[in-house]
């Protein structure tokens, strides 16, 4: 047992309880992954955006569970019910869990900062090396190859980039169709979601499958949004995909963020492109964006407001148990 003052015990309790919830949710998420993937697959053809959201939430379950447990359970119950007088003994296991929890948190924050920095570097390179051009209603940076043929870089103030080979090969309509696709990623906040994925590291194949499935569904959803149910735009986007796929590729030109996810698809070369083109050849009307999360959020907030005061004593008892 180690004697710790009030604030150190608070940190210990939050970090340890967060880690326990994170681990439990990670196990649950891994176990339920095959079911979630089947469900997403079933929904993908007509509602890829919703399927992508389902997969993403399931993938982020450990992070959501840990944040919820610390913010709404551990922290309030400890602040309200724990006595601030003097130091109290804390068990070694709890200390170990707290250290692991803090390490995990620091690791996640480091990865997020590194990703932000790498993106900033890319943006800076693009700003310096690329030529600012207007394509329809989009301002883009035309980059010398090798660079991703067409990309949206960054989560805040994102930058649209086009490689010089793509810019000089694609027709103006094709460029606009491709950029509409990238704007769809922007509207969906996909780069921000990538940041959250980086902040939720979980070992195991199940989570890699969820990453791959999300990346694929996010592309489908962006295709649908860009086509907006218009068969002509859909066809134009399909021809853009083919034109981009035909561009000569330097090894370093691969899309950096997706490279670690998609390089594992070597055995199924071209499958995703075929599926995307086939979908665009028989487009579905994009499902209207339903704000289904708003009532769900309101219901969750109401339930929490009613139940949380009642659970504080129980939570505190569990925390005391964990600390000992």
């Amino acid at each position: 047992m180690i004697e710790l003052p009030y604030w150190a015990r608070l940190l210990c309790a939050c970090a340890a309880s967060g880690l326990v919830c994170y681990a439990a949710a990670a196990v649950l998420s891994a176990l339920g992954t095959p079911w979630i993937l089947r469900r997403a697959q079933h929904r993908a053809a007509r509602q890829p955006a919703r399927a992508a959201l389902t997969v993403l939430v399931w993938r982020l379950l450990p992070l959501l569970a840990a944040v919820f447990a610390v913010t709404f359970l551990s922290l309030p119950s400890f602040l309200l019910l724990e006595s601030q007088d003097g130091a109290e003994a804390v068990g070694r296991l709890c200390c170990l869990l707290a250290v692991a929890g803090l390490t995990l948190t620091c690791g996640s924050l480091t990865r997020m900062v590194r990703a932000g920095f790498a993106t900033w570097r890319f943006g800076r390179c693009a700003g310096r090396e690329g030529e600012r051009r207007r394509v329809g209603e989009h301002w883009v940076r035309v980059l010398p190859a090798p660079a991703p043929s067409m990309a949206l870089a960054g989560a805040w103030r994102p930058l649209l980039t086009v490689s010089y080979p793509a810019f000089s090969t694609l027709s103006r309509q094709q460029l606009e169709a491709g950029l509409d696709h990238e704007r769809a990623h922007l509207r969906s906040g996909d780069n921000l979601k990538r940041l959250l994925l980086l902040a939720t590291p979980v070992p195991g194949g199940a989570h890699r499958s969820l990453n791959r499935a999300w990346a694929r569904l996010a592309e489908w959803a962006a295709d649908d949004q860009a086509a907006a149910g218009d068969p002509h735009r859909s066809l134009l986007l399909a021809s853009t995909l083919i034109a981009v796929a035909r561009l000569p590729i330097a090894p370093a030109a691969s899309c950096p963020s997706l490279a670690p996810l998609l390089s594992t698809l070597d055995g199924e070369r071209g499958r995703d492109l075929v599926e995307r083109v086939q979908r665009l050849l028989s487009p579905h009307a994009a499902a209207p964006a339903r704000r289904s999360w708003l009532p769900a959020l309101a219901a969750a907030a109401l339930t929490a407001a009613v139940l949380l005061p009642a659970t504080q004593h129980l939570t505190h008892a569990l925390l005391e148990h964990l600390l000992r």
Binding site: R121, L235, A252, C255, L265
Partner: protein, 143 residues
């Protein structure tokens, strides 16, 4: 005879937007004088502006020039492919300099280039797109 600028090493300098456009025109036409370049630019620019730009590109070592009558004829000294390779090298060197920063960059790409696509597969997909386009045109004509 074409003359080359003494400071050819300066060719590594970054091109501005107008310089890029002018270079594109000279690359496309193999050679051109100031008036021809000005006529081919998408936006109307003063003769002297184009002349200054061409002179700057000559001094950067990207163009060579010879005198014909009283005007200079400019020709590319570096091919577009050579220029792109050089710029590409710089871009890659800049972005991929540190170990694996690219793995965590927040990028959404239209199509991942990790996959190398089979030409036959792409031809087949292009054919499907053409068929679909024809079908849509026929349907539009009928209605």
């Amino acid at each position: 005879m074409f003359s080359t600028a003494p400071s050819a090493a300066a060719a590594d300098a970054i091109l501005g937007p107008l310089e890029s456009r002018v270079m594109e025109i000279v690359w496309r036409n193999s050679e051109a004088n100031v008036r021809q370049v000005a006529a081919l630019l998408p936006e109307p620019l003063a003769y002297t502006t184009v002349m200054t730009t061409l002179d700057r590109l000559y001094k950067k070592g990207l163009l060579e020039r010879r005198k014909k009558s009283r005007a200079f004829i400019y020709a590319p000294r570096v091919s577009r492919a050579q220029w792109l390779r050089r710029r590409a090298g710089e871009f890659v060197a800049n972005f991929f300099a540190t170990p694996h920063p690219e793995r965590e960059a927040l990028l959404s790409c239209l199509l991942d280039a990790v996959e190398q696509y089979d030409a036959a597969l792409l031809d087949d997909l292009s054919q499907q797109i053409r068929d679909k386009r024809r079908q849509m045109e026929r349907e539009a004509e009928r209605t």
